[in-house]
């Protein structure tokens, strides 16, 4: 006998989530599984590999300092970007939260607008600021402060600046969301107990906003360390990051097994940081941050 459908039937729920579930299985889980298998395939020549199992790719990765150098640099740039985002992002988030300005939504909207503008365009637009004929160089030359244009593009600083531009709104929104969830009477209580505003900030506001800051740091770090376009446009060949290495290995050298190995390495390393974060903070904060 068929069981009757109940109001919140689990079977119905599975039917509703089926499309997304299938999409995630075929486009996320399965690819990563196949990619893991591919790391043990033998590279024959550009675009050709055999399924003869080998650990050569992993061996090459662990012994060739070329790869570990890339990894270290990527993690360093990611960490620097995340920290800078945290420092520079906290102030605006706090300002928007604490301001008595009537049109707060406008301040928030102004932060969301850059989100909509094409990422590629936002990245290359920095060339108009930093380039030899960019705003800064032309202004400094006209003022006679320098005689030759400063080389500000195509180095690590430019890459970090570009990523900062891309990631700051993420950070600000994350911190803002966690500030918004603070019960303001707590701060009033702290003040009435004799705290100065600085003490109230240090003892109440800052600790309560830390989850948002942590979520922002993780998000910025992961997105920066996985970036491809920014180092491609604003960095030189020397400042390529792990994402560029993967792209060149797959699309340039057509060495698929090595490309898969590098992808899995990046996946595991970033996954490690995300796991540590989840262990201490839980997933919910980052969910709040992403939903804006």
């Amino acid at each position: 006998m068929k069981r009757r459908w109940t109001l919140y039937d689990p079977r119905l729920a599975w039917m509703l989530v089926a499309p997304v579930f299938l999409l995630l299985i075929f486009f996320l889980v399965l690819p990563i599984a196949v990619m893991t298998a591919y790391t043990f395939f033998t590279f024959v020549t550009a675009g050709v590999e055999t399924s003869a199992l080998t650990t050569a790719n992993w061996h090459e990765f662990f012994t060739d300092s070329y790869y570990s150098g890339f990894l270290v640099k990527t993690l360093r740039v990611g960490a620097m970007t995340a920290v800078l985002c945290g420092v520079l992002g906290y102030f605006p988030a706090y300002f928007i939260w604490a301001t008595t300005f009537k049109h707060k939504w406008l301040l928030l909207l102004l932060l969301i607008v850059p989100f909509w503008i094409s990422f590629t365009i936002r990245t290359f637009s920095w060339i108009n600021i930093l380039g030899e004929q960019g705003v800064i160089n032309v202004a400094l030359l006209k003022l006679g402060i320098i005689n030759e244009p400063l080389p500000m593009l195509y180095n690590e600083g430019a890459v970090i600046l570009g990523m900062l531009h891309f990631l700051l709104p993420y950070m600000i929104l994350n911190v803002y969301v966690s500030l918004e969830s603070i019960d303001r009477t707590l701060i009033a209580a702290a003040r009435s107990m004799g705290c100065t505003s600085a003490q109230a900030f240090r003892e109440v506001t800052l600790p309560l906003s830390l989850p948002g800051l942590a979520a922002g740091l993780l998000l910025c770090f992961v997105l920066a360390a996985g970036s491809y376009v920014t180092p491609q446009l604003l960095g030189s060949g020397r400042d390529a990051l792990f994402g560029n290495l993967i792209y060149d290995t797959i699309m340039g050298e057509l060495n698929w097994p090595m490309g898969a190995t590098l992808s899995i390495v990046l996946f595991v390393v970033l996954g490690f940081f995300a796991a540590v974060y989840t262990r201490y903070m839980g997933m919910s904060q980052i969910v709040k941050g992403l939903a804006g």
Partner: protein, 279 residues
């Protein structure tokens, strides 16, 4: 003593305001520079301006490659936005309203595409279709974009759905409405802001996607961002600045317009109905 402390607080607040202002300038300076430079008469992309000219826009309008890429991206983004919104809203509904085994795992899995770097997602799908010997197709590209946009649509809808009490739906059901019509008549109208927001976000995510599209696009197909990337490989010209300006207008204008329409719609609706308090 007290006065000095107050002074300190004021300075801290001023510093916060100053940094905030700097961040806003930082966010908008390159965008403004790009828009200004797109009207530069000079052949070379850069300051100082040599005069005002619209020639780069004219040149852009005649650039067949750019127009094709624009149309391609527009179609992909429209399809992605429609499909992602539909399946995302249904998923969020199931995740909020239902209890089922595997729910926790699924809600974590749904967020993953937003956290896994695009390069990895890009390579993964390529390796998979290489392993099963399939070509890169338009369908693959669109499905890939749906994967990238789905987390955001689900999260936005979930956030809104949590605020809608289930008794409304249950009341409709108990009055004899079918499940589908209770969803259509009760839940969906209350969800509209999240649906529109999700659709717009999915559109932008798809229209804007660069890294993953570089891996997934079929041979010979350029989307707008990959087209820009290949143009940038040659040089930064005023034409690219003009293109950037057009894209800024499209991607900022469409959501703003959508938001305004939505606002006036709700206002119109409200005029015809008693307010929440009056009820």
């Amino acid at each position: 003593m007290k006065a000095r402390r107050k002074q300190e607080g004021r300075w801290a607040w001023r510093l916060t305001g100053f940094v905030t202002l700097c961040v806003y300038i930082f966010m908008f300076a390159p965008i403004v520079a790009t828009v200004i430079l797109s009207f530069n008469a000079s052949m070379f992309g850069g300051f100082p301006m040599t005069g005002f000219s619209l020639q780069w826009y004219a040149k852009l309008m005649a650039n067949e490659q750019v127009l094709t890429a624009f149309r391609t991206s527009l179609w992909i983004a429209l399809v992605t936005s429609a499909v992602t919104t539909a399946i995302g809203v249904v998923t969020a509904f199931a995740l909020v309203r239902f209890e089922f085994p595997g729910k926790q795992a699924l809600s974590t899995l749904v967020i993953l595409p937003a956290l896994v770097p695009e390069t990895i997602l890009g390579v993964g799908l390529l390796v998979l279709i290489k392993a099963i010997d399939q070509p890169r197709t338009m369908l693959l590209l669109v499905l890939g974009h749906i994967l990238l946009a789905v987390p955001y649509v689900v999260l936005i809808t979930q956030a809104r759905m949590v605020g809608i009490r289930r008794v409304y739906e249950e009341a409709a059901l108990s009055l004899g409405a079918s499940r589908v019509s209770s969803f259509r008549e009760i839940t969906l109208p209350l969800l509209i802001p999240a649906v529109v927001g999700g659709a717009l976000l999915a559109f932008t995510i798809s229209f804007d996607n660069t890294s993953a599209s570089l891996f997934w696009r079929p041979a010979g197909v350029e989307t707008m961002p990959t087209q820009i990337l290949s143009m940038l490989k040659i040089s930064i010209s005023p034409e690219i600045n003009a293109l950037g300006t057009v894209m800024i207008l499209v991607t900022v204008g469409i959501p703003l317009l959508g938001g305004l329409i939505l606002q006036s719609l709700t206002r119109l609706k409200r005029r015809g109905q008693p307010t929440e308090e009056a009820r």
